[in-house]
Subunit: 544 residues, 2 copies
């Protein structure tokens, strides 16, 4: 590897930035938000503008951040990732040891693609999907009564749920007539029950998504869905579609109408543009709309290869995040879409970012001496303005914000009320929030005083479409991995989820011992037994 | 007022707690999670157990926190609030200067109630609602074709949306047959468009919720909904119900089928148990179920009057939060319900908590010298386990967690898979997470090492019902105001939302000037003009 694999704090420019951070740009100073600043602090690609004049930095910091990007070799690593270098590893220790090739799913427009083999596999799956969707359209694949399918239930959890769900909600304005999608994810039995009870199962397809074919929640929910089909006198095999790794226990034509494949070089949280999202989104929006998602994502992936911050919004957003997090000391980042359709996009990013960068170890297996991934949270505006924005403006904690907005609405169903359309009000509010957080306000009443200097950025596109949704998704995916490269952490594994699984199985074993009349082996795991008892799980004969 | 109105840092026990915080209880030490600790560290009320053995404290800290509660007079202030003392004020400055009486809505079971006048008003509204719901049931109020109403659209934002929505989702398992509820909140025109396009408006009631009768988003969405009725050839007056302040511009029988009243002593974020939630929840669940919500809330409100931390889960949760936030330095709190039905409860709490306690000013108008309200975020488990829990376990930031779970499911549609039901898996996972976060795990592979000492609590009840939902809501409402009392801040105003409104109106004025061919008055507000231009709002003739 040619890039630097030392941590952030060992890069030459680190000390310079630490020094600059002691006295960050004062957004409340008279004239601080000068028109030239506002128009110059802007980077654009793939339909998006990133406005960042309301961040606490000046040209000196910006040039320091450019050096930080260069010295860390973040963009070179991004290119290496796209080409298929094994990036998912911890040197010297047992690790997943895999390539990271989610970008290959949308590299179908380039010739040659960055990684020919992975993109060939992506194309083969897309062709299979195209055929299947055409069969649905032509009535060649139907239920036993010869009726078309109108509903689709996506069963998956984590990356097999959050990304696909966020994308579906974002684009449901473009859903084809009489095509509805529902989601089951939680092992909570009420999740499946609530979804299944309101469906005409006879006209419903069920997509089961698990790379390993062994995700406990997903298998459990699949079994519940199959039980509902049996109860309704229907043959589940005519309705269930598998999205899984080739050769997994789920890759079984006996049990599924079709199987679509995903590959081990695509992590769950980066899988929305693979078959994980494709089958459901293709059903809902049509094949061509899904290809448009890929086109937008690919365009942004290519912009993410630019070394110049001003030409690479993903890299810029990554470095602004590092400035706020590591240098100005802000622990969280709020993602605030001014678009109701992006309702669940923050939850997807929360997953993608926090599971990727919530790490304490460098890729050399050493403890990081600085802060890594922030806590990501957020809800759509203007709703949030009537909820938690009070704290953003006047709280003691400072949460840098990333606004996302669009110049036009999706449905074009709008009215002029008090001199403006709803869409104008929406955009005006977003821009106003960035200005208000930055500039603050003096007032003699201390309760009407706003300290200002609360940093934010604005991502803006013309309209939320399949293309811009793809670009936005890729922008954030690239932001996250670029931050990981600068921090020198492995953004692609998730060892932190294992311990909870082990302890949950231990508790389930305890419960099972008791149900079968066994004795409590208190000696071995006193805390698990005590927790079950304190929780009242073992005290009475409950339905549990 | 008899209680102490100095800040947290001036209370006698503050220094003692600061000292104890230098060396907090080590949850990873051998035997730290002893069975006695696990069973003793528990407080119960109104159907809920609060388990807190996995917090970083011991008996010395607990006794310090009890002293902190006592010295701040938090419980006395809570009682004063319930009785009608003007708690919403900043001494010496213009402020809202109001009573805070959301608890009066559910104080209908006591004789005499804490505040007779407010509870009488609550009862009168409930009686009006009871009559209206019975008229719907008996077919005395129908659409013009004499058909019953099957759907209800709630139009409101902030407190008129998040709390009611969270409660409806939590309890939709108990919805009456053929009664569905939908929500429109965002000024984003696509929010209304997406909801309205799929409804049979002729059989739909629309509840418009705004205390002032002048919330811009809500009036705008109401106008869009009325336009849809007109377009469908329907008379909106036969379908629209107002929930508003008595005498507000919306309190107009010409325009609404019915009006239900809310009062200025109930803040929006605390209004879910007033008519704000009552009309919609009564429609969906029936009147009796809504009364059960009030019964649970009232029971918890009464437990919140206990001075002993161990008998008052709300007070204990408040003090545990202060321990983690002010003494151990954790900036956020994650609310993690192990119940898919509580999907939107964290968003409601995010509002209720951050809008209440995101303040920098004491009730004496002085700047607070310590940290106030935390950033609140969260998503249901087990979903979160496949998303952001990686950071909770192995990230560099520590986010204290509040788990919420139930021993039984709502739908009772469950299966045994691999030896356990889904409900058992769900509860086992929640308990396991608390143990794993606390105890951590040693491993030779540094990537499989868990540092532990990540604090959490568990709130547990038998089942999510109207009663327990009411209790849970009241528990958190009490927690939030009790924290505010300890911090000596005003948890009941929201001055921090004003500046954004002013700037949004300025931007809308700019847009209007341009649409009418006026000149840009760049001198006065150069930053607003520059922001509009940089955002590309004014550059071309867009539909905007």
């Amino acid at each position: 590897m040619t890039w630097n694999t030392t941590g952030l704090d060992e890069l030459p420019v680190y000390e310079k930035l630490m020094k600059l951070a002691r006295n960050p740009f004062d957004l409340t100073a008279p004239g601080a938000l000068a028109p030239e600043r506002i128009s110059n602090y802007k980077a654009s690609a793939a339909g998006f503008d990133l406005l960042f004049s309301t961040q606490r930095l000046d040209d000196a910091v910006l040039s320091g951040l450019q050096q930080l990007a260069d010295q860390s070799g973040a963009v070179d690593q991004f290119l290496a990732m796209k080409r298929g270098v094994v990036m998912n590893r911890i040197a010297g220790y047992e690790s997943e040891n895999r390539q990271v090739l989610h970008t290959s799913c949308r590299d179908i427009f380039s010739d040659p693609p960055c990684n020919a083999e992975a993109t060939l596999q992506a194309k083969q799956q897309l062709e299979k999907l195209d055929v299947f969707l055409a069969q649905l359209d032509k009535g060649e694949v139907t239920n036993r009564r010869g009726e078309t399918f109108t509903d689709y239930v996506n069963i998956g959890i984590g990356g097999s749920d959050l990304g696909p769900r966020a994308l579906f909600l974002a684009l449901s304005a473009y859903a084809r007539e009489n095509r509805r999608v529902h989601f089951i994810s939680n092992v909570d039995p009420d999740d499946a029950a609530a979804v299944l009870q309101n469906l005409d199962l006879s006209r419903t397809l069920v997509g089961v998504v698990s790379k390993s074919g062994s995700t406990l929640e997903t298998l459990t929910n699949e079994a519940m869905a199959r039980a509902a089909y049996t109860r309704a006198g229907l043959e589940a095999g005519n309705h269930f579609v598998a999205i899984t790794g080739q050769g997994s226990p789920m890759d079984n034509p006996q049990k599924y109408l079709r199987s679509f494949h995903m590959y081990d070089y695509i992590g769950g949280r980066y899988s929305a543009t693979s078959m994980v999202g494709a089958v459901m989104l293709g059903f809902a929006l049509g094949y061509e709309a899904f290809i448009e998602i890929l086109r937008g994502a690919n365009e942004m992936d290519r912009a993410a290869e630019e070394k110049d911050l001003k030409k690479n919004p993903a890299l810029l957003l990554a470095l602004l995040g590092i400035w706020n997090h590591n240098f100005l000391g802000h622990e969280t980042v709020a993602v605030l879409p001014y678009s109701q359709a992006l309702l669940r996009f923050p939850a997807h990013l929360q997953q993608c970012d926090m599971e990727s960068n919530g790490k304490s170890l460098t890729r050399n297996g050493e403890k990081v001496p600085f802060s890594t991934g922030p806590i990501v949270w957020g809800e759509p505006g203007t709703n949030g303005q009537h909820a938690f924005y009070q704290l953003l403006h006047q709280g003691t904690a400072i949460a840098p914000a990333e606004f996302i907005g669009f110049r036009q609405s999706q449905h074009k169903f709008d009215l002029v009320i008090k001199g403006s359309t709803s869409q104008q009000k929406l955009v005006a509010n977003m821009l106003a929030q960035a200005l208000a957080l930055a500039a603050g306000q003096k007032d003699e009443n201390p309760n009407r005083f706003f300290a200002g200097n609360r940093p934010s950025s604005i991502l803006l596109a013309d309209k939320l479409t399949p293309y811009t949704m793809g670009a936005l998704l890729a922008l954030y995916e690239a932001k996250i991995v670029l931050q990981g490269f600068v921090w020198n952490i492995n953004s692609f594994d998730q060892e932190g989820v294992q311990l909870g699984k082990v302890l949950a199985n231990r508790l389930l074993d305890h419960m099972s011992i008791l149900r079968h009349g066994g004795a409590k082996d208190r000696e071995k795991h006193p805390e698990s037994w005590a927790m079950l008892e304190a929780a009242g799980i073992l005290q009475e004969d409950q339905p549990l």
